[in-house]
Point group: C2
Chain length 388, copies 2
């Protein structure tokens, strides 16, 4: 399944030796057409990795034939040499595919920042011939690619949906930490055989990411490499209704986002923070995100402590419209705070892996949810020992 | 020392039984005059605790004769009953002091949010007679008060400086977590016997806090109770030069801020993040604060990992003026990143308790330092088990 569920795509994944673990670390997705439409969304971090700098330019014309991805180093802050590695990767892949412009090959990298030297380059370039020659349209190709982009992920993430008339949208994702606004340390490749031009793909993708990946904020840290790509082959010859297509793309993005959420580094609880009764959706997002970034709140949830005071205190740091004396907080169905004061006994709150926090600002009708993780010993451990 | 170092002040501290630990938890500082000038800075959190709501109004006229502080509950989000407890505290204290208006008694609370019921009120009110009757101008009174405002602090924080002509500025502080912008979970009472009116105190205090407490950001969380009060008795009959007075007040604030920093909850490293070469001081603060709030960076420092990539990635999330390809990062004197790429071998960086990170944006002459803490297992432990 994954990126090969839609017709008109092949994929592969192999061990290039970039990862000390010896696991798969190089992946390819090829759009075999007939169309070569593409849309992409990149990190809003101003200090971008080399592959992002390359791919932003390469995808600007709405055309792409392939994406090469590695999970053995971010190729970020590696200077001119790193950028040359990216262009060399695109050029070599284009030549091996035959009749493809290097500017139609996108490149993604993930892993440690600062990694991207001669050895990194050699292992990628030397393995491209096998990567291209083994690209297949079957399930195995899609699975190999999904596995080859994993870093600290514990499972490969894939999703497939079918639209009216028989077109398909499928995809793969990786990302387990640094998941924050304007995407995450997250690479996502989506494919569709629907007959949709680049502008249509772009509209659907931006709408979907703003309501899915952009609302996953596991640790408040924004990556340098985030990329979400949607390629259209047109192979189904089905031209979908724009709204239906957008809904299907959003559905796939939400599914992948939830898979990223439950696999977040070191998380013991998967927290959904919904702000309702807000004056606008933007203010609901602002309030939920603010609470989702409070280390005190996140540590309290780790301790299964329904500490609503830390929620209200965090709401107070935002510029959203609300009456400080009229905020309600419900945790796992128990309204522990009503009108900014104690309500039900917090002892009544029971905890499972999933935690639902609902904040009611009581001023309007808008609502939004942000998904985050608790702050745990495992998070500290994974992120203090990662590069050493 | 502490708040009784300056002439014209008495202080006391006692065990009111608010804290399960049985330690001192109720404090008083009285300005015996001749002047009764006051200036104060409060949390910018919009969801403020009851004592803050009261004291903001009470101090607005620039006069105060006393401050009552407790460390056994925040009296925050406790509704009308909580506000009545605050007014009752001020009224009772005013009556016991004699010839004092209740509006000239400020109130501060710290501890758990939501704590402030009948028992909390009774223990405070019942102990006010002894608190007032034992207030003394000697060192012991100042020390008792400084000890009685501690929560998770491991040591009492006091500071004293003397100005030209023989006037004194002294103070006490508490706060060990939730130390973030617009102050911290921090109560500070400063006293001076300089002959400075309320406007002069206010100018000196705002200048000092903006350069000291406002730049301490241990965990990004803003408290609901933060209060910094500066009372002037005029008892020295010295009218200081305004600039010299401001410098002395700032010096005391910086000293107390550093004492708060090194006692921050769960910290293993005291981190100073200086951004230099910035276009403005505000942008230098923005960049340093952003890095100081990155959980990935804070966890890396806990692991003594000079992970400069996480620094540059965080700089990229800000709107400050810089060239993404020309950022330098120096950690403990070793320039590990030059022009946004690797420089000296990170293995050369050695770690002690104090960590200095210097970010050079290479675009201007402005600089600023933010002080923060690393993200440790102890932080997670303290804040996940705090209220349960």
């Amino acid at each position: 399944m994954s990126v090969t569920a839609a017709r008109g795509f092949t994929a592969s994944g192999l061990i290039a030796g970039l990862k000390p673990s010896g696991k798969k670390d190089l992946a390819l997705v090829v759009n075999t057409g007939p169309a070569d439409a593409v849309a992409a969304v990149y990190t809003s971090n101003r200090c971008k990795a080399n592959p992002v700098l390359w791919s932003e330019k390469a995808s600007a014309n709405g055309r792409a034939r392939a994406v090469v991805l590695n999970s053995g180093g971010a190729n970020c802050y590696t200077g001119d040499f790193g950028y040359e590695t990216t262009t060399l990767t695109a050029e070599t892949t284009a030549r091996l595919l035959g009749d493809v412009d290097p500017g139609d090959v996108l490149v993604c990298s993930t892993g440690l920042i600062g990694v991207g030297g001669q050895d990194f380059r050699d292992r990628i370039i030397d393995n491209l011939p096998q990567l291209v020659s083994t690209a297949a349209a079957d399930d195995a190709g899609g699975v190999d690619a999904a596995e080859a982009i994993m870093t600290t992920d514990t499972v490969a993430k894939t999703s497939v949906r079918t639209g009216d008339g028989g077109y398909t949208v499928g995809g793969m994702a990786k990302g387990a930490g640094m998941l924050a606004p304007g995407l995450a340390t997250m690479l996502v490749v989506l494919t569709t055989d629907a007959a949709v031009d680049a502008a249509g793909l772009d509209a659907a993708l931006r709408g979907a990411t703003s309501q899915s990946f952009d609302r996953l904020d596991t640790d408040g840290c924004m990556s340098t490499n985030d990329t979400v790509i949607l390629m259209g082959s047109g192979a189904s010859e089905v031209t979908p209704d724009a709204d239906e297509f957008s809904a299907i793309v959003k559905d796939v993005c939400l599914d992948l986002m939830h898979q990223l959420h439950v696999d977040a580094e070191g998380a013991h609880h998967d927290i959904a923070i919904t702000t309702q009764g807000a004056a606008s959706e933007a203010e609901a997002v602002m309030v939920s995100r603010s609470v989702g970034r409070s280390n005190l709140f996140k540590a309290a949830i780790f301790g299964e402590d329904p500490n609503w005071g830390r929620v209200v205190a965090q709401v107070g740091t935002t510029s959203a419209e609300f009456d400080p004396a009229n905020i309600d907080v419900t945790i796992n169905g128990v309204r522990v705070c009503q009108a900014s004061g104690p309500d039900a006994d917090p002892e009544l709150v029971t905890f499972e892996r999933t935690v639902d926090v609902v904040i009611d600002l009581n001023v309007g009708d808008a609502s939004a949810t942000i998904w985050t993780s608790d702050l745990t010993h495992d998070y500290v451990e994974e992120n203090s020992a990662y590069s050493t």
